[in-house]
């Protein structure tokens, strides 16, 4: 690994941040409504506030949020704030800090998606390997088309069907949320069981829907691996079928899958908006949806930027660590 590669890769990271940051700055400002005005009118409608002073208040708040400045000044101060990791204050949940809101939602998303991704990875890779293996149990072969069909169903529709099946028609699990209202999340038996019960349906809709992705990838790699000479050698040596399958075929076919897993893990912070919204799961995706419903573009901006920076850093780390893990990869001058 050369210094040049590290510098280039870091340059790409900075470029991603600049492009994403600029898109992120411009898109919410395309809208012609003033979010603060809208918010204040909503408050007024609810609380019977005196509408006469509304314009004055809008002006005051716009100054506070910097919305009365020319666009280029807003752009500069936007970057200055970002450099200090200051995402500003939420308009919808004022005076809550955008960063605090994101950090509050983050553990739910990371918890749910990490478990779901790893489960889907393990089960999917195993099925994919069996699918390509000529001497796999027959039951497994019969299960495969069913799993592939499940993968064709978009995961949020699977979520809807699961809510109907297991929370309404046969109510054994909660339909939404991450934890019951009367329970505070803590490290005790009751709370953990409650949190797990809430996570089962969203996790399963994510797992079932992505097993096929891992399965097909693994199957392709297995077919390539099985054509290698060392597989023949292992067979001629009279090694047991199980040993050839696990130690020779699966182990070698696994490497690209692990790369895929690392990349998927990098995208975990972005959450899964649809599953979180359908299950009212209070993660990052759901927070983004709330921000959109409330027209809170400072919160939207903060979430998008946070997610993109997190993904960018994760991918950077993966690229820099990879040559250490796989000796076949060397970054050299082309």
């Amino acid at each position: 690994m050369t210094i040049e590669f590290v510098l280039k890769r870091f340059g790409l990271f900075l470029l991603i941040i600049v492009v994403a940051g600029t898109i992120n700055f411009l898109v919410p400002r395309l809208r012609d409504t003033n979010p603060i005005e809208q918010r204040l009118y909503e408050f007024a409608a609810q609380g019977g506030l005196n509408v006469a002073h509304m314009d004055e208040m809008v002006e005051n708040y716009s100054k506070k949020f910097g919305l009365d400045q020319p666009l280029w000044k807003q752009y500069l101060s936007y970057w200055a704030d970002l450099a200090r990791l200051d995402f500003g204050k939420s308009i919808a949940f004022f005076p809550a800090d955008v960063k605090a809101e994101i950090l509050r939602a983050l553990p739910w998303t990371v918890g749910l998606l990490t478990v779901a991704t790893i489960m889907a990875f393990l089960v999917g890779s195993l099925f994919g390997a069996w699918l390509a293996w000529p001497r796999a149990p027959r039951v497994v072969k019969a299960l495969v088309p069913i799993l592939m069909t499940l993968t064709a169903i978009p995961y949020y529709l699977l979520g809807i069907l699961m809510i109907f099946g297991f929370a309404i028609f046969w109510p054994i699990l909660p339909a939404g949320g991450a934890v019951s209202y009367n329970i505070t999340p803590a490290f005790n038996y009751e709370a953990i069981v409650d949190i797990l019960r809430h996570a089962i349906l969203p996790a399963f809709s994510l797992v079932l829907a992505s097993i096929g992705f891992w399965g097909l990838g693994m199957r392709g790699m297995m077919i390539t691996t099985m054509g290698e000479d060392y597989m023949k050698l292992a067979e001629y040596k009279g090694l047991s079928d199980k040993r050839i399958f696990l130690r020779y075929a699966v182990r070698n076919a696994m490497l690209p899958q692990i790369t895929g897993l690392a990349i998927q893990m990098a995208f975990i912070v972005s959450g899964s908006v649809l599953v979180e919204v359908i299950f009212a799961y209070p993660g990052v995706g759901f927070l983004l949806f709330e921000a959109i419903s409330a027209n809170d573009f400072l919160l939207m901006q903060g979430i998008l930027m946070f997610v993109i920076v997190a993904i960018g850093i994760s991918l950077l780390v993966i690229d820099l660590l990879y040559p250490l893990i796989d000796p076949r990869i060397r970054y050299r001058k082309a």
């Binding site: 064709a152 809510i163 983004l288 998008l304 993904i311």
Partner: protein
């Protein structure tokens, strides 16, 4: 080209022969490919359903108050009515083409941009390649669905066509990458060199030699892009961020979930659009798998 350059063979006859060879080979392969045929038939079936549905069913049945609200299926309303009296069957017949159109528009745009960029980067290399590959890498890092969610929430009235365009502009990265890597491996083949020596222009080499050879790849990434676009559009609509004035499969799902079809066990409302969507995705999935077998002989060896 100078006149002194050696004429190895008349270039025109070679390209035509090769084209005919490639296309007939592809046709034979498609006919033999059961996965591809099965997927295509399923999509055709859905297409015919929406074609005859829109021709035979009165569009007024998709409007609010077309029947009594929340009726279970009967002879008058094949799949019952929703909370506001829309006929679910009519809604489905008119909503399915909308989702298909969004997918096709986004697919054409995404694969069009992606293929063009892939050829530019892979064939010309140099600065083009650096610039295009960098842009692709940057956009692959940005989670498209999150950006689409934000953009869709900004627009007040979104039409079916605008939705297709919007998704298409975020769908070119995958095709660009696939096509670039394929072009990279093809551009150094000897038949490309032969064509170059004979003074065939680059654009002609791309159009008459490389594009036909890469057709299975382009077709596979087209079907894949269409599926991804339909997935994104239904997702956005299901969040209530899609077109609200025209029926679409995602909108029906959004209404049914928002107006408590689940709690009230109105299966005839949320069930049918899910069934159509699942059929659609299985069809597209089989088509991509079939096309992969055409373009990637490695997958043909077993199972």
């Amino acid at each position: 080209m100078s006149t002194a350059s050696p004429q190895i063979a008349p270039s025109d006859s070679i390209t035509e022969d090769e084209q005919i060879g490639v296309f007939s080979a592809i046709l034979v392969m498609i006919g033999r490919n059961k996965t591809l045929v099965a997927g295509f038939s399923l999509i055709l079936l859905i297409g015919l359903f929406s074609l005859f549905g829109t021709l035979l069913i009165d569009p007024e049945r998709t409007e609010v108050g077309a029947g009594k609200p929340a009726q279970s299926p009967s002879s008058e309303h094949l799949l019952g009515t929703d909370q506001q009296g829309r006929d679910v069957f009519a809604d489905l017949a008119y909503g399915t083409p909308a989702s298909l159109i969004i997918g096709l528009i986004a697919g054409v745009i995404g694969v069009g941009i992606g293929t063009a960029l892939g050829f530019l980067a892979g064939y010309y290399r140099g600065y083009w390649d650096t610039f295009i590959s960098l842009t692709t890498d940057v956009f692959l890092t940005i989670p498209a669905l999150l950006v689409l969610v934000v953009i869709a929430s900004m627009t007040t009235v979104l039409s079916i066509e605008a939705m297709g365009l919007l998704i298409g502009f975020f769908a070119w990265m995958g095709p660009a990458r696939t096509i670039r890597s394929q072009v990279l491996s093809l551009r150094d083949r000897s038949y490309v060199d032969v064509a170059k020596f004979n003074g065939v222009r680059d654009i002609e080499i791309i159009w008459r030699e490389l594009v036909p050879t890469l057709m299975p790849y382009i077709a596979a990434s087209f079907v894949g892009t269409v599926a991804a676009a339909i997935l994104a559009s239904i997702g956005l609509s299901a969040l209530g961020l899609g077109p609200q004035n025209e029926p679409s499969l995602g909108l029906t799902i959004y209404w049914s979930v928002t107006y408590g079809a689940l709690i009230r066990e109105m299966w005839w409302w949320f069930g049918p659009p899910i069934v159509v969507i699942v059929m659609l995705f299985i069809g597209l999935f089989l088509m991509t798998a079939g096309l992969d077998q055409v373009s990637n002989p490695r997958l043909r060896t077993s199972v």
